[in-house]
Symmetry: C2
Subunit: 401 residues, 2 copies
Amino acid sequence: MALIVQKFGGSSVADAERVFNVAGRVTDAYKEGNSVVVVVSAQGDTTDDLIEKAREINTNASKREMDMLLSSGEQISIALLAMAIQKLGFPVISLTGWQAGFVTDSRSGDARIQTINTERIAAELDRRNIVVVAGFQGLDRFDNITTLGRGGSDTSAVALAAALKADKCEIYTDVDGVYTADPRIVPDAKKLSEITYDEMLELASLGANVLHNRSVEMAKKYNVKLEVKSSFERIEGTVVKEVTNVEKMLIRGVTRDNNVARIAIIGLDDKPGVAFKVFSALAKENINVDMILQSIGREDSKDIVFTVTKDNVDKTMAVLNELKPALGAKEIQHRDDMSKVSIVGAGMVNNPGVAAGMFEALYDAGINIHMISTSEIKVSTLINVRNAEKAVQVIHDKFNV
Amino acid sequence: MALIVQKFGGSSVADAERVFNVAGRVTDAYKEGNSVVVVVSAQGDTTDDLIEKAREINTNASKREMDMLLSSGEQISIALLAMAIQKLGFPVISLTGWQAGFVTDSRSGDARIQTINTERIAAELDRRNIVVVAGFQGLDRFDNITTLGRGGSDTSAVALAAALKADKCEIYTDVDGVYTADPRIVPDAKKLSEITYDEMLELASLGANVLHNRSVEMAKKYNVKLEVKSSFERIEGTVVKEVTNVEKMLIRGVTRDNNVARIAIIGLDDKPGVAFKVFSALAKENINVDMILQSIGREDSKDIVFTVTKDNVDKTMAVLNELKPALGAKEIQHRDDMSKVSIVGAGMVNNPGVAAGMFEALYDAGINIHMISTSEIKVSTLINVRNAEKAVQVIHDKFNV
């Protein structure tokens, strides 16, 4: 009999009917003789409703108080799920983040898990209780409630699976697994039965939107066997683990990410240290830079082009405009109508033909490439957003994924 | 400079505007140089909404999970109030019941406060923070969140004032103080500037609905100076304390309580132990009995008549009907159309004319008295509910309160 950690997101517990659906999944696993720990997020729109309440009062409230507010959302959903499990006749107890032993640092709103004291959960499992844990939250060493930021509940589940040495961590979502492309764009996209952590990391960061990177990184670090499954359909999902059989399928997936903007610094002095100045200034403001391209321009000047997420455009432009005189830059431009389309697959590094095939597919479709970046297991291209769906389709066709 | 505990109920923080009203009251006290601890309840209908959510899932959920659910309500309101205080530019921190150190027993849904560990609050006050505390909740020694049941937030505030040795505990409510009668019934009712704990206890239990008895009992026990004030109007309220100047005004108030039903057990055997059997059976079912009247009936039988709250009528009748053969009772009756009208005043015990004056007022108004009960500081009469408002008025007039 195994120890299983299950995680259900906010839409999976949005109303009473869905809460009972989750309770059914949980108790089925329990009935098979497993020990079950369930991590849940806040119900459907609860978090948004709470944020709206806060905005009516103070748009600039401290993150510490935002965490106090938002963490009530999961507290509601764990209680309701526990009640549904009771209704089905099973022993259960709900635990908030701090009751479950989640200790984090003090970065309110974006805290990192430092350790999990699992005594309470272990004791409840010993009593054969199903344990329902509030995701997304913990407690810092000064006894303040913290939240984990984006992807927090996935991270809670994986961290808990690692701390409990669980046999498996099942992440239940709206989709039924990881696909070779977004099935809404590419109707013949195929579901992957297995994928490696690294591939999943690339897919997640490229906008596949199934699992948050933080949780995959943690799963990789502690070798937690993940499975991405559907909350609603009872079918096999996609298993994420260290090694998979990569022989047969070279390309794991084609993704697009529209949350991308291109920043161009034109006519920089061609002197050493210019790139350092730019990117250290951005790092200081916590702005993540993705694709970077540096070109020698005409005469003694060069251009630096890079991408950031759309919500960072204003901050980036502010940093760069302040820096402009020191850089000796002629002009700073930004464009929002971009999309990053990528192919991911662990076998790619040994197959130089993959990138070429991708560019060919785009060329055949008349799609212009603005930037290119590659890693060991992916090739990304920046293109105009109006071509993004078409690009995903033609690349998927090209490789016959 | 004083240490003040303020308590605001759910309707006082029902929306953003009201939250700012409370924030204004709190920061005014702080600006005067006081240390301020604020206890708040859940916003307006939050608790009812949460109960409804639970009912959709499980009408028989464990109290432990109900407490987990309901305690999220105050967590929301403390965060929002803290945000409003931040917006006004003052240093503030919100604390849940357990963060504030409330330790209770394990009676989920109706827990008693055992102790309050005030280190955290004291530390925050030392930093000159305004401290916003979630009322109504605590933590048992197994780290389970508990709620305090009816009147819980008043009790939280008074207990905190006692533990912190606060100079004053201000209870803000919909009304602006304690009146000699309900101003909606008796237009010339007067607001009392002072009242003793015992008088307040009688008034509270008699349906004056201003302060919950539990909180007044605790205030009396720890000699906490209470003040009942309006949340909305900035005027003096009523101070509740140990000794007041009772010389001038004999009668503190006239109250009525319509939440009362009369139960009559007719034709009991006139044997010892009958009353014991009846009231121990009711006590076992947690049914509180109020006025009791035992009369010798005709021949060798007697009647027992007593009152309970209306919501306990069904349970009481069930208990008594089961007991009926053992008691040898002829008949068990109940009446719901009753009201208890009372006068309260600490000086009453030495003034036998008070009860007589009350009965005279009722007689003059043609109002029939069903039952009478007296204590050191009150006289209560059970009358037909249709006469209740008139009774309050004529008694108030009689004593020219």
